[in-house]
């Protein structure tokens, strides 16, 4: 099929299209807003895309692809990079043969996240080059540039996008497809085995690459000067460029697309060329701190603008240093658990039993809202089990006996299994109750498959993990599977009995997500039909 010469695409879809045109052999990641649609889109246009159990595994698979000389795209939301940080820091040392592009989708303003960490810091900490596109055209172009940079310097590249780049549709004009390398394995025992005698020279090689990239960053067109009036110069990156260009159309701009290592010579020349120089950036003052540390006097935003995303109005305020209270938008209607959602039954029961609930990341985090108000914490993926255990270890007996850990099916596969190992290994004196809320999908991010559903990213049948078998094999004393109906009585009784037993109990509370039940039936019917064909 011929690619149209002008398309309206989201940033996520643009990254997927570039991956296709850039010859990416495998795209892998874990769902997370606002990154999820990249791999879904890549699969839809014929790319090989798969969900990994978590971001660390995804990156490790990507490293293998790139060691084999092929091109890998690994996608995740900003907090996913925390999970993948271990391999990220070390693959920066070993380097790669093919291309390894890691997408970090940050969420300034926390539209759908538990924090607004600024992952530009990761590029510095891990020592990897970083690109920051400002719209879908750049998301497309910079993904291709990231592949080229990764292959040229044999290094993983961080493609840092934000919610307003991922989920904004803008025009994209595609380019001709790149030639694709043929995968092939070359041994490099010293280069890729990071025992200390090998890691020391590997670190030296990394610093050498960074110094070469620093020189390159001074001349690359990815860092662009847009001339304007000399009275005001603005240094910016990503979508902030768009807000700033609208708020100050006459200003001179230094728009940085390649933001690590930073082109300090070019920045210094720009600062000297204007009367007043201001850095406009979301989240942390990453650019401003670095530029000031290099000895250039630039203005940075007032601290209040570190919180939340920027827009044209907020940039106008930054321009005049206006720190007066910002007008509050009337509160909209908060999200809620859907009518007929099985989580409703679970949280009614936990509320009525006065449980202390260590919660986790997913739709069920909405169990914290009225009328349930039945979740006491929600910190990060998989944290419910460890936090529940910690509470049980130290609370007085009558309180400890009321602690439960509640975790979704996809979250359990992501990082709950090691928590279960801790349950077995360091059991609290009062036992513990872990409830897996199995709705047969990764619901909150838009119904992605995972290793517990037995279907691939493209909803085709594949291997499947059964939590009850896994828990038994790991040594959990009581494993209970319950189908959640409309009446909470049976589930309530099960939880009451489990708490009273003071044993290690795993409850699988099962009912497909109401929003996806229809699709699940269709996938299953398709799988059965396929199985019959094979049998014949």
């Amino acid at each position: 099929m011929k690619t149209p010469d002008r398309q309206l695409l989201s940033g996520d879809a643009a990254i997927a299209l570039a991956a296709k045109h850039g010859g990416v052999a495998l795209g892998t990641g874990y769902p997370g807003t606002p990154s999820t649609e990249i791999l879904e889109s890549f699969s839809q246009i014929g790319g090989k895309a798969q969900w990994a159990p978590n971001e660390k595994v995804a990156l490790e698979v990507g490293i293998g692809v790139a060691y084999a000389g092929a091109r890998a795209l690994v996608t995740m939301k900003h907090v996913g990079v925390n999970v993948a940080a271990d391999p990220l820091f070390s693959v920066a040392y070993t380097g790669v043969v093919g291309a390894l592009v890691v997408v970090s989708a940050d969420d300034p303003g926390m539209a759908s996240s538990q924090n607004e960490q600024d992952n530009r810091r990761y590029a510095v900490a891990a020592g990897v080059p970083m690109l920051e596109p400002a719209d879908s055209q750049e998301a497309y172009d910079f993904t291709l540039a990231a592949i080229e940079i990764s292959e040229r310097w044999k290094i993983p590249v961080l493609l840092r996008v934000t919610t307003r780049v991922c989920h904004t549709q803008t025009q994209v004009r595609p380019r001709p497809a790149m030639t694709v390398p043929v995968p092939h394995f070359e041994h490099d025992l010293r280069g890729r085995n990071l025992i200390p005698p090998n890691a020391r020279p590997a670190h030296k090689r990394l610093r050498q690459k960074l110094s070469e990239m620093l020189a390159w960053s001074e001349t690359t067109p990815l860092n662009e000067i847009i001339p304007g009036k000399k009275t005001l110069g603005i240094i910016t990156s990503g979508v902030c460029y768009m807000h700033a260009r609208e708020a100050a159309p006459d200003a001179s701009f230094l728009k940085l697309g390649f933001t690590h290592p930073l082109p300090m010579k070019k920045i210094g020349e720009f600062v000297r060329s204007v009367e007043r120089c201001l850095v406009i950036e979301e989240n942390d003052p990453y650019l401003a701190d670095a530029i000031r540390a290099a000895g250039f006097a630039v203005e940075s935003k007032p601290e209040i603008f570190r919180l939340g995303e920027l827009n044209v109005d907020r940039v106008r305020r930054i321009l005049v240093n206006d720190t007066s209270p910002e007008p509050l938008k009337p509160p909209g209607k908060p999200p809620q658990l859907c009518d007929g959602c099985s989580h409703r039954v679970v949280f009614e029961a936990l509320r009525d039993l006065d449980c202390i609930v260590a919660g986790d990341i997913g739709c069920y985090a909405l169990g914290v809202l009225p009328p349930f108000s039945a979740m006491d914490c929600c910190v990060c993926m998989g944290s419910s089990i460890g936090i529940g255990l910690g509470l049980r270890h130290v609370l007085p007996r009558d309180e400890a006996k009321r602690v439960v850990s509640v975790i979704g099916d996809s979250t359990f596969v992501h990082s709950g299994m090691t928590g279960l190992a801790e349950v077995i290994y360091n059991p609290p004196p009062t036992g513990h109750v872990v409830i897996i809320l199995d709705n047969s999908t990764t619901a909150m991010t838009g119904h992605q498959e995972h290793p517990g559903t037995g279907r691939t990213l493209a909803h085709e049948p594949t291997g499947k993990i059964a939590y009850e078998d896994l828990a038994k094999a790991m040594g959990i004393e009581r494993v209970q599977v319950i189908a959640i109906g409309k009446d909470p009585a049976e589930f309530t009784q099960l939880v009451r009995d489990s708490l009273a037993s003071e044993q290690l109990v795993l409850i699988v509370a099962r009912r497909p997500c109401v929003l996806v039940a229809k699709h699940l039936r269709a996938y299953e019917a398709k799988a059965c039909a396929a199985a019959e064909v094979v049998a014949k």
């Binding site: 807003t33 807000h243 999200p335």
Partner: protein
């Protein structure tokens, strides 16, 4: 050409995103620059959803600056006041009661009916609208959505004549 700012607002599941997709496709076909931005994720769970669509010969920020919307199209009655502040002085509100969902052959086409009302204010050929609608729905839903679009367009035109 001056940038036109449209905000579509409603609740998760009402078709806010679908409506903004149709609008941006119709505009994009006419050769203009378009930016369409919204927040996904938790907002899908029945909560407030808004989508910003900006178009013209050159568009910078993907978000409509506060108080600068030329058009505010709202799908849920209780979301009108929440979003009214986004409208500029003299901007046009397209409220959900402009078209009675009961008058449509498929009440789910209410979003498309209100797009029909919006279309009466914009200089975009009707063929682009219909093409955008058809590319957004299964063939069996085309007739119902065509009808909804036309009812909304007529309702807005009738209102314009009264004024």
């Amino acid at each position: 050409m001056k940038t036109i700012n449209v905000i579509i607002a409603g609740l998760g599941g009402q078709g806010v995103i679908r409506a903004s997709d149709i609008l941006s496709k119709a505009v994009f076909q006419s050769g203009l620059q378009v930016k369409k931005s919204e927040i996904h994720g938790m907002s899908q769970r029945g909560g407030s959803v808004t989508s910003d669509i900006r178009f013209g010969s050159e568009v910078w920020s993907p978000m409509v600056p506060p108080g600068e919307a030329d058009f505010l199209l709202v799908l849920a009655a209780d979301q009108v006041e929440v979003n009214r502040g986004q409208l500029r002085a003299g901007g046009v509100l397209i409220a959900p009661d402009l078209v009675d969902p009961g008058a449509l052959s498929n009440h789910k086409s209410h979003n498309v009916a209100l797009l029909g009302a919006l279309s009466a204010h914009l200089d975009i050929p009707e063929s682009h609208w219909l093409q955008a609608i058809h590319s957004s729905f299964h063939e069996k839903l085309h007739a119902a959505n065509d009808q909804a679009f036309s009812i909304g367009r007529r309702a807005a035109r009738a209102l314009q004549e009264v004024r």
